[in-house]
Symmetry: C2
C-alpha cells in the first residue's frame, strides 16, 4: 500500500523522536512492501518563528490531504520562552487546538498500561499493580470548555472572565459510539466519567451514553463522578477498561493515568475523526530541557506510529511487528535515561530507534 503521512516534528525533542519513528516506519515499509510518503509541516513554536502563527492554513490543507498525521511534540518553557509572551491564540498550543478542530479530531485515545519490564517505575505499591493494568481513555477532543465561547470583560468595574462548557447530543453520541466500539475489541467495560451531580452538560452526557449503551448489550457500563475517578485511578487502576469522558476531565484523568502507569515515555495517543484519518502523537510533552541531546525516549512516538498503522491504515500485522519489536528491545534490557534502572543498558534516542527498527 501507498500512504501519505503528514509529519509535524514540532519543538523541543519533537524532531529527534519523530526521526526515530520514521526510521521504524521505513523498516515496516521495506519488510511488508508498503510505501510511505512523508510531507513535513510546521506547527507550534517553530511555526511561530517561521510564519508568525502557530499553524498556517496551508499547513492544515497539507494535513487534510494526507492519510494520517504523525506529531512529535510542541511548545517550549512557559516561563522563559518568548512564545508565551504572545496573545493566547498565537501561542504554540493554539496550533494544536486549531489542528484538532480543523481536522475534526473529536476522539482522543490514550492507552495507559503497565509494561512488565517497567513496573519498578510505577509509583503505586506493588500489591496494587500485581498482574498489571491496561486501560484506554477515550477523551472527547473538540468540544466542551476547550472550544466554547470565552470572554474577559469589565463588569461594574470588576474584571470578569467567562468560559463556556457546551455539549450537544450529537457530539456526545459520536464519542460514546467510539468508546463502546473500542470496548467491544477489549474487555467490554465502559466507565463513563462526568460530574452529573452538578453540571447540565454531564447530565446530558449521561443520558446520551445510556442511550448508546442500548446498542451494545455485551458491554458493561458504569457511571463514575470525576472526583471519584481521580481517586479510583490511584486506588485500583485494574478496575478500568475503557474510560469515556469529556474534554477537560479527559485531559486531567489521562495525565493522571499516564503517571500512575509510571511509563509516560512509553505512552502513545491517537486523535481520530469519523473516517479512518487520525493524528498520532506521544502523550508526553516537548521536554525543551533535554532537546537536541539524544536523550529523549522515542518509544511513545514509535508506538504512536504503530497506532497509526493499526487505526488509520488497517495494518494490524505491521503494527504488531512494531509493538513486538518494542517489547523485545525492552526485554533485551535496552533503556533510555528516563526508564533506566540498575543492570540495564542505557542507550540514546537514535540507538533506541535503530534497535527497534532492526527488530521489526
Amino acid at each position: 500500500m501507498n500512504k501519505k503521512i503528514t509529519v509535524i516534528k514540532g519543538d523541543g525533542i519533537g524532531p529527534e523522536i519523530v526521526t526515530e519513528a520514521i526510521k521504524v516506519l521505513d523498516a515496516v515499509a521495506e519488510k511488508f512492501g508498503h510505501s510511505f510518503e512523508y510531507t513535513d509541516i510546521l506547527m507550534g513554536g517553530c511555526s511561530i518563528d517561521a510564519c508568525g502563527v502557530p499553524l498556517t492554513d496551508e499547513a492544515v490543507a497539507t494535513a487534510k490531504a494526507a492519510d494520517a498525521v504523525l506529531l512529535g511534540a510542541i511548545g517550549g518553557n512557559t516561563s522563559t520562552s518568548p512564545w508565551y509572551k504572545l496573545a493566547p491564540n498565537l501561542r504554540p498550543e493554539a496550533g494544536l487546538l486549531k489542528i484538532r478542530k480543523e481536522l475534526g479530531l473529536f476522539a482522543n485515545l490514550r492507552p495507559a498500561n503497565l509494561y512488565d519490564e517497567l513496573k519498578f517505575a510505577c509509583p503505586l505499591r506493588s500489591d496494587i499493580i500485581e498482574g498489571g493494568f491496561d486501560m484506554m481513555i477515550m477523551r472527547e477532543l473538540t468540544g466542551g470548555l476547550y472550544f466554547g465561547a470565552r470572554k474577559t470583560e469589565v463588569v461594574d468595574g470588576v474584571e470578569t472572565a467567562v468560559d463556556t462548557l457546551s455539549y450537544n447530543e450529537d457530539e456526545i453520541r459520536r464519542i460514546a459510539i467510539k468508546g463502546f466500539d473500542i470496548a467491544m475489541k477489549r474487555r467490554k467495560k465502559v466507565t463513563s466519567v462526568d460530574k452529573a451531580n452538578v453540571l447540565d452538560s454531564s447530565r446530558l452526557w449521561r443520558k446520551v451514553v445510556n442511550e448508546v449503551a442500548k446498542d451494545y448489550p455485551e458491554v458493561e457500563l458504569e457511571h463514575m463522578l470525576v472526583d471519584n475517578c481521580a481517586m479510583q485511578l490511584v486506588r485500583d487502576p485494574k478496575q478500568f477498561d475503557v474510560i469515556l469522558t469529556e474534554n477537560m476531565f479527559g485531559d486531567i484523568l489521562s495525565d493522571e493515568a499516564a503517571m500512575v502507569s509510571g511509563s509516560l515515555g512509553m505512552l502513545a495517543s491517537a486523535s481520530l475523526n469519523d473516517t479512518k484519518f487520525g493524528l498520532y502523537e506521544p502523550s508526553h510533552g516537548s521536554a525543551p530541557d533535554i532537546a537536541g541531546q539524544d536523550k529523549a525516549n522515542p518509544l511513545a512516538t514509535i508506538l504512536s506510529a504503530s497506532m497509526m498503522l493499526r487505526y488509520s491504515f488497517d495494518m494490524d500485522k505491521e503494527a504488531d511487528a512494531i509493538d513486538n519489536a518494542v517489547k523485545q528491545v525492552l526485554a533485551e534490557g535496552y533503556r533510555t535515561g528516563d526508564i533506566m534502572s540498575e543492570g540495564m543498558k542505557q542507550v540514546g534516542c537514535k540507538e533506541m530507534g535503530s534497535l527497534v527498527a532492526e527488530r521489526v
Copy 2:
C-alpha cells in the same frame, strides 16, 4: 467561652460520626471550661424526606445564627435511592451547594497528609512517601462551573447543554489571600493550579494570584497546569505545601490527594467565609452501605471539630488536645475497620469516639 454550633447529622453514617465528634467536643468543653450549645438542622436526604427539599430557608437561618456548623455527610446510593429520581435542584447534594452559597463559604480547606501510623494504607511506593507529606488544598467553593448559569435546550432539533465557568477578580483575590495567609503559617509555598493555556478564567486567575503574591514576598509562588498537577500528586506529593485552585479543579485534585494519602477516613475539611464563621465536615462521603452498623470511622469528623475550634473559635490549645488525643489513640493501636491492619485492635465507631474523648 460559650459557642453556638449548628449540627447537621445528615444521611448514611452522618449521625453516628457526628455523635462521636460531639462526645469529643463535650470532653473539650468540660476540660477547658467552655460551653457548646448544639442545634440540629436537617440537610440532604433526611430533609427531602421530612420537608420535601434538601435544605429549608429556616435551616439556613439557624445555621447563620450560629458560630459554626458541624456536618456529618449527606446523600445516598445514587443508583438505588429515590432521592436521585428527583430534579437535580431537589437532590441531597443541592442542599450542600445551597448552604455553601447562602453562607458565603468561599474558602474550602482540605488537608491531605500522611499519618505515620497509617503509612501502610498509602497506595504509593514507600520510597516516594519516605518522610511523609503534608499539603493543604485551598479550593474556591462558591464560584466557577458550580454556580454559573446553566441550561439545557433544543437547538436546531439537537439537545444542547451549557454550563458556565465564570470568575471575577474579586472572587479570585479573596481566595488567593486566604491561600497565601495559610501558607504563611505553614511552609510558605503556594502552588496555584489552573489551565491558563486554554481558559480565560484561568488566565485571569493567574494574573490576580500574581498580584496578591506581591504582598507576600516571603511566600514562594509557582503556577502549575491542572493536568500536570494531577500527575505530580502521584509522582511526588512531598513537593506541595498549599495548592490554591478554583472550584472544579479543587474538587478533583483534593479527592485525588486524599486517596494518595491513603487515609480518607482521617481527613477533615473546613469551608470558611470572610469572618470567623465556618462549616466543618469530613472529606469522605455518607457511606450508606455501612450506615447504622457502628463500623464508620469518626476520626475525620472529630478532626473537623478540631479545625472548628482552631479556625472559628481561636481555641488552639483545645484543638491541639483533640489532635493529640487522636494521635495517641492511633499510637495505642486502636483502629476502625477501614484503617485496620495486622496486630492492631479493631474498634467500632462509638468506642473510637470514647477513646478519643477520654484522652482529651
